[in-house]
């Protein structure tokens, strides 16, 4: 049993490949993480966990579309449980492919679950895979995932994806997201100013430089950058003379713990 008694279910399926490092990040902040294959999810109840994580990778080889097959698979296998899970205010985090899954499953940006996605993570405008460290600005620090951050704070976290260009159905949908404070992270310049689509600061051409969003309630979040790769100081791209203690990605995991601590289950 971990320090806090908080439990996370890190889901995986064929092609998932960031489950291990994501679990390590969770364990480091005291959340017990269990990696569970979708093939064995039937024997489990999501409601035994406080947090469900969809980690990065290439689920189902990106067949059909990145995240599409796993997204639907989640609906088929977990829909009722997951709706209740979200309803109860437990947390769902999707990273990279996990974000694509949440969008394809219609869990983000909507509320609850819908059968047709209302957003998309399309091909990068650079037409290629992009592995680089980006600057992220915290737009909303009142979600369970960002409570340990300042609003407007700039984080250093890497991305690694070929399909991360966030698109909404319409301008109106985007306005809705802004109004509801659902935009959590945006790609910015090193000084914190908007990237305004400028490559490579906005690495994929995302609308409104969106890097991560949450649902209206704030307890489901998806993001393209990989916080688990910026968790330990030694993972960072620049150290100075010695590695710093911690990376910015850690704040997401620490926020989750804080949220759990402050909320009584």
């Amino acid at each position: 049993m971990s320090l806090n008694g908080f439990k996370a279910c890190v889901l995986r399926t064929g092609g998932t490949n960031c489950d291990l490092e994501t679990s390590i990040a969770l364990e480091e902040v005291g959340i017990k993480a269990e990696i569970i294959h979708m093939n064995r999810i039937e024997n489990k109840s999501l409601l035994d966990y406080h947090l469900v994580v969809f980690p990065g990778g290439f689920s189902y080889g990106d067949y059909v579309r990145a995240g599409a097959v796993w997204g639907k698979n989640v609906l088929v296998k977990l829909r009722i449980e997951l709706e209740r899970f979200i309803e109860e205010g437990r947390l769902v985090l999707g990273i990279c492919n996990g974000f694509q899954v949440l969008v394809e499953a219609g869990i983000l940006p909507g509320d609850g679950v819908s059968e047709t996605p209302s957003a998309a993570l399309a091909n990068n405008s650079s037409a290629r895979y992009e592995c680089r460290w980006v600057w992220l600005r915290v737009e909303n620090n009142e979600t369970p995932f960002t409570m340990m951050m300042e609003k407007g704070e700039v984080l250093r976290i890497p991305v690694g994806h070929a399909e991360g260009r966030f698109l909404t159905r319409s301008e109106k949908d985007l306005e809705e997201l802004k109004k509801n404070r659902q935009i959590v992270f945006r790609y910015v310049l090193p000084n914190g100013d908007c990237a305004n689509g400028l490559y490579p600061f906005n690495p994929n051409g995302s609308t409104y430089d969106v890097a991560g969003i949450c649902n209206r309630k704030g307890n489901v979040m998806g993001m393209m950058p990989h916080p688990e790769r910026a968790f330990f100081g030694w993972q960072l791209v620049e150290w100075g003379k010695t590695p710093p203690e911690r990376g910015d990605g850690r704040k997401i995991f620490e926020s989750i713990v804080k949220y759990f601590r402050e909320r009584i289950y």
Binding site: T116, P117, N123, A127, A162, R165, R169, G205
Partner: protein
């Protein structure tokens, strides 16, 4: 009934795969100016009714095969 579903990016959307294919074809010496890509699914459904089959295909696109935010699709019943 056999259906043919073709999914293509909506007009105006980036098609990096198409761009890369065009470049590679040009590198091979072909006088190619543009390539757009799409996906085809040949789907056999258990239904003898043309209309129903098409309705099903439509729903498959909405639910899985296409993302309405970025994809268009076209449907066709194939002769068997």
């Amino acid at each position: 009934m056999r259906l043919r579903v073709e999914v293509r990016l909506k007009p105006g959307h980036f098609d990096p795969e198409g761009d890369v294919t065009a470049k590679m074809l040009r590198d091979l010496g072909f006088p190619v100016t543009m390539v757009k890509t799409g996906k085809v699914y040949i789907v056999d459904v258990e239904s003898d009714d043309r209309e129903e089959a098409l309705r099903l295909a439509e729903e498959m696109c909405r639910k899985l095969l296409a993302n309405p935010v970025k994809d268009d699709y076209s449907l066709e019943v194939l002769p068997t």
